[in-house]
Symmetry: C2
Subunit: 421 residues, 2 copies
């Protein structure tokens, strides 16, 4: 979809993404355990939304429409009705039309898509916020909550950790078809942690990940599935993080841009999006991401852009194999099974590579507060295209970027293409 | 908001709304208890969506965008990611851009709002489906799930039945301020059941409700709150139903209308909507629905219509008091506290009254499968304006109708105005 009016992204804010292993995450061994609490879902939404408005040089009263991306606040935080929760963030939000959008781990990008359509429909200032809190329960209960992104009735039983098992199944199929090694897959993991170390907001920025550690299971990096067939195909380092956090961006029309006292040079344009869904029961070919492919094709065609023109990308690396499959589905490699030769062996996704990917650390190391992720991705490309990424800034003043956010086992996919100015 | 392009509603489908007391609802005393199951959330979505397409004379392949309204599928059905669930309904839905929208009990109307914006944004054929299944758990657990529509952290403790308690609090405030009697409130209840008796799809169509029964607590119509202060202010008959069901409508642009082989005379136009949210912590004045009032004012102003021009309305009667407050907020009475004199005493909301309301039985007697309700309301006005309501058809060929759908304690409100042709 090409927006019917120009859509400018003019402000973004990201809270730190935190959870287990992050120094500020409060848990039983943290010195503040008895006296302080981690931020709530409501607080993350408010911080992200107000921060993004400030970054955009706009006020809460200027907002004409708002969308919240969140997957399962009803479960982790006992709280739904998140449009109204966002309305609590500032007195001037009273009466604003806010709502929540859900598509599992693609909830954030779906909120963004609704925001883009709202600009096309005639609104001039739209707030898009995403957040998730997941650290309120233990890992097994959390895995059960997140299994609501799969076809629960038939897929839940695969393993207590349903999603790691679904992507272990992808890994097995890919290894069987194309003969990739664990050390190859490990390279995308190491890239993520290496980038996160340069990103002060990242969940895993203080954790070191070596190629050696990421390449084979060990006491410090164990396999953990119960399903014996799939167990060898995934270990802790292959997984994204169970993070808490919030992210927001401000979208405006040309009129909204003027209202914020900005010019196109201060902004990034979202020139197209692709959005596709597939049946919840699962994909037909485990070695390809067909729904992401469809969304990418739509986004490229609407923008009149080809994959080789993309200079920086945010890709949905909920698991290491997901990044590899997404890179192929998005056309960064020439076809299925080509990622190793064309991208992994050359470190093409590194900050100084041919196509830098997940420059702030991706879902694996920046972190993955589910509903925030798709919004964060847009904010990251915005910052990269405006040269605001500090230590992890991509060199060469990139002008075209891409985001890919995915729900479930490639059952929802959103791809956006952004251009500077 | 006035859509930037004409938005036509050209097809609708409603499954029966069922649950306790409905003859087809399968539970332990039903003859098919061991052999058959009630439909699932996924089945309701599919039935509603495909039925609406058939009613619109369109095929699944024609759909360009889809929205699902649902509140807490993650809890009642262990299933989120409902855009992908809808994509399973037909092979030709593969790849379509579907997503889920949530705003508590206003989820259905929010899906509709997104659908209207999508037409304004340039899509020509949009599917809007809503569904909820709530009968998978007992009433107390269900009440806890639904409490996610309130500010759970501070309001859950009000009563095991949080929402009935929140609206008992509204009733108490209204009674204290304006001196209305239980027998007055009972009249809106009796109207709902009387209308539902004429509606073959209604949940409570076979249940008789007399003014005598609805006017005071009894063994057959008990009060049920634990909160002693609020307990006298609500009894079973004042509540809407815990229903399962699905509803869908098809929205098209002028191009989509032509594609379906229809003319404006076969359709109803959604000429405007109002959408507002207030802070989740609750309203400041319990005797008024300030958020509904804002949404109504926006809808009226955008449409250039006044309340006295509305000839048929669907109003969110989640509780009897909610209908009374909504009628006042929407300007059907001249101000707060005026409903008794101006509407109730004259039976103005009856099928042959001045402003027929909830002609199919409303949430109290047609039923309230939460995410379906806002979609059903639009479908009902569509059918009334085209003279398709059979035994409960409003006389005099109405040409202008209104819907009001509400989330939580008037924390989200959506009002739409529809015109024939």
């Amino acid at each position: 979809m090409k927006p019917s009016r120009d859509v400018y992204l003019i402000g973004a804010h990201n809270t730190p993404f935190i959870g287990k292993f992050h120094p500020d995450f409060i848990w039983k061994k943290h010195p503040d355990f008895e006296t302080k609490k981690n931020p709530t879902l409501q607080e993350y939404l408010a911080t992200a939304a107000l921060g993004a408005l400030e970054d955009a040089n706009l006020k809460p009263a200027d907002v004409q429409k708002g969308f919240v991306g969140n997957f399962v606040g009803e479960l982790f935080s006992n709280q739904g009705h998140l449009g109204s929760v966002l309305a609590s963030a500032h007195p001037d939000f009273y009466g604003k039309p806010f709502s929540r959008v859900e598509g599992a781990c693609a909830s954030g990008a779906l909120a963004l898509v609704n925001g883009i359509d709202a600009i096309s429909a005639g609104y001039d200032v739209v707030l898009v916020a995403g957040a998730e809190v997941q650290t309120t329960v233990n890992a097994k209960i959390g895995a059960d909550y997140l299994a609501r992104a799969s076809h629960y009735e038939t897929q839940r039983e695969l393993d207590p950790f349903t999603f790691p098992a679904l992507f272990a199944r992808r890994t097995k199929a890919y290894v069987d078809a194309f003969g990739i090694e664990e050390a190859d897959i490990a390279k995308v993991v190491v890239n993520a942690y290496s980038n996160a170390a340069k990103n002060p907001l990242s969940h895993m920025g203080t954790v070191t990940m070596t190629l050696e550690k990421a390449s084979e299971a060990s006491d410090k990096n164990p396999t953990f599935l119960t399903n014996e067939e799939l167990k060898p195909y995934i270990k802790i380092s292959d997984c994204s993080q169970v993070s808490d956090g919030g992210s927001a961006v401000i979208l405006v029309s040309a009129e909204g841009l003027a209202k914020a006292g900005k010019t196109p040079a201060d902004a990034v344009r979202i020139v197209s999006y692709g959005h596709a869904t597939g049946p919840i029961e699962g994909p037909s070919d485990l070695t390809q991401m067909d729904v992401t492919k469809l969304a990418g094709e739509e986004a490229y065609a609407s923008a009149g852009v080809t994959p080789d023109q993309i200079q920086v990308a945010e890709v949905h690396d909920c698991f290491a194999i997901a990044q590899i499959l997404a890179m192929e589905a998005l056309g960064f490699a020439s076809g299925p099974g080509k990622a190793k030769e064309e991208l992994i062996d050359t470190d093409a996704f590194a900050l100084d590579g041919k196509i830098p990917i997940n420059t702030g650390g991706g879902l694996m190391a920046f972190g993955h507060p589910v509903g925030a992720t798709g919004v964060k991705q847009a904010g990251e490309i915005f910052r990269q295209l405006l040269g605001r990424c500090g230590e992890y800034q991509v060199p060469g003043e990139p002008t075209i970027g891409l985001t890919q956010n995915m729900g479930g086992d490639d059952r929802t996919a959103v791809v956006t293409i952004l251009k500077r100015g």
